[in-house]
Symmetry: C2
Subunit: 429 residues, 2 copies
Amino acid sequence: MSITANDPKRKTWLEVSQDSDFPIQNIPFGVFLTRDDVITIGTRIGDTAIDLGALHQLGYFDGIPLTDDIFLQDTLNDFISDGKKTWRLVRNRIADIFDQGNSKLRDNEEHRKVVLFGLDEIEMQLPVQVGDYTDFYSSKEHATNVGTMFRDPENALLPNWLHIPVGYHGRSSSIIPSGIPIHRPQGQTLPPGAEEPVFGPSKRVDFELEMAFITTDANHLGEPIPINEAEEYIFGLVLFNDWSARDIQTWEYVPLGPFLAKNFASSISPWIVTLDALEPFRIESPKPEKKLLPYLQFEGKKSFDIELEVFLKPENGEETRISRSNFKYMYWNMSQQLAHHTVNGCPVISGDMMGSGTISGPTPDSYGSMLELSWKGEKPVKLNDGRERKFIEDNDTVIMRGHCKRENYRIGFGEVSTKLLPVFEPKKK
Amino acid sequence: MSITANDPKRKTWLEVSQDSDFPIQNIPFGVFLTRDDVITIGTRIGDTAIDLGALHQLGYFDGIPLTDDIFLQDTLNDFISDGKKTWRLVRNRIADIFDQGNSKLRDNEEHRKVVLFGLDEIEMQLPVQVGDYTDFYSSKEHATNVGTMFRDPENALLPNWLHIPVGYHGRSSSIIPSGIPIHRPQGQTLPPGAEEPVFGPSKRVDFELEMAFITTDANHLGEPIPINEAEEYIFGLVLFNDWSARDIQTWEYVPLGPFLAKNFASSISPWIVTLDALEPFRIESPKPEKKLLPYLQFEGKKSFDIELEVFLKPENGEETRISRSNFKYMYWNMSQQLAHHTVNGCPVISGDMMGSGTISGPTPDSYGSMLELSWKGEKPVKLNDGRERKFIEDNDTVIMRGHCKRENYRIGFGEVSTKLLPVFEPKKK
């Protein structure tokens, strides 16, 4: 089935600015609360949010096999379970409904009133109920930087790194959409030179610039997913800020990996951009430096050229861009990650989220965390107003943005923006 | 509110054998498929399964604030969300309905027909939809054994171990109920002396004898749970076999912890025994060897005296008991685990599962894994029929059982039994 929604020549009757992340070629999926306090599944073109539940009730999806309530839900999980063929039919239909040559909705004011919303009339929600969240560690530059700082610059990469898309399990319950503030976590740390740990607020709160992909139901317990089928099970991607507390991590992570250093919050951009929308932006993956085991060998272009930026905004201050990276730098691609994740028969279901790991590029201005940008705090990052940051301070907001670009249009992710509040103070009883 | 369901003198009009794990003082909760292919929430007394959905529809829970469909669900999550007060009201009422002095249901054949089932008429399901699964590493004997085998016998425990109830995130999607067979996982391993990894079936498949507790909605993002409130949020416990592939683990686990070595399967006993039912079996926790930070200091008896056994049954062979341990050996108790898990503000919700980690006792016959019982394979475990095992072989079944005992009754968990099938063979297309 062709993805007609990707037609670069198509124009829409909705107003869309030239530099919008959401032209009619994007058509992402999300969940929002409307002005009438109804939760619905929707999409976005330009700065207009579109209620897919209302569109479906009005018959605009007739002919596509969808249950009546598929969009009247508070998560996308069931729609994602319907599979790639259905996603394509729906995305193609939406492109058709909003095509400038299609007058059906355009000229029906009654319908437009219940279907279209301004962005200030809605509140974005978490788009999926995340069953399991896995985080990979797939940027060679990031793994090398961390290994250089904390282990041995001569042997920065551990022996397994070039053979395995290293990953570990994360916490689903603390995944939140853009806009929800978080508190500085407290925990145990071992101060330099001390023999006993102390308890208190983390002094090294950090962001991690990542992307995450969201899967559909892929396999049963015991059955691996072959690498060249993996993309069939990827619904789409979001920007992902995997908040980290470096000092808590240092004390806790040997031997079973990071735990409280990570699970206090992970923030995502609320619109899931489909893998289909990213189709024109495929690019070759980096050449493997070691011969890969067969289950990790793939055919074709499995990486994507997505420009990424991180901004830091202090309270009452302006945004400073502190990093500029690209999803294409990932040494291990999503197909390799999913094939590896399931090679032992681990089941993957609709709504599972898989983070890329911090996406650092080759140059110091492309590193994906404060840990690397400030090199453990040794080289503070300069903000536009002259202030400096080693790590994230109270009331700072971290904003990540990402998009793909061609001459004629761009496909973007919007942003994930999260403010770090001071430590939580329990209410006096 | 008193827990009248725990009255040790109470007898029931149902038939219950003397040595049953499920006397009227237990009243666990589970989910089963009935002979009519209906999924319902139920309990069990002796060898009789009780359909709580049917009981509720017939009015037996009148006066308790419950929604009409609370038991007509395929998971316990919503019931667990109702909180401890409701669990107690329901458990006390069930004890009353089945008390030998109560004739209401006993003498109503019509009602008995739709409420009561033989065990051969039902099929147990996973009792909760597990949001997040966390595994701890809280047995000092287990951590010491592992540290002795793989690191340094002189410094077997890592520096953080006596300060932190070490834990890490596991995979929810591969948690299965007793009775579901699993396949031997495949994956990457580094053979002894080799420089490059190979791919193939794990040669060191192991069980881990654990218990897991299931939580209710406990806190919001950012808010810690004080240790002395932690038990308010624990619904109950199950037996937990955290399957492991030791050779995959060795190659993959540095630096981010175990991943594919663990996430191919974790098996649980299907009846959740409530913390209330375990109340009479409280026992002092081991004395801390280091002064604990205040958030980990607790009052009262927070450990539980639960005897645990592991049996191995080869294909067409008999069961051999290969280990005998006790939940009371845990150095860190559940309250400490939950307080630690949330001290950074990580949210815990209804249906989350937290494994204890392998429960090894002080003597070699009380170790909770083949890795320890066979000491890395150096001391094969003898079976009753003369065969030996270093790790688990194809078509072996591993069975775990557990119970608490007083003179007059025992509260048990039934069993978790899982057969290991050979490597999965994809069907030819």
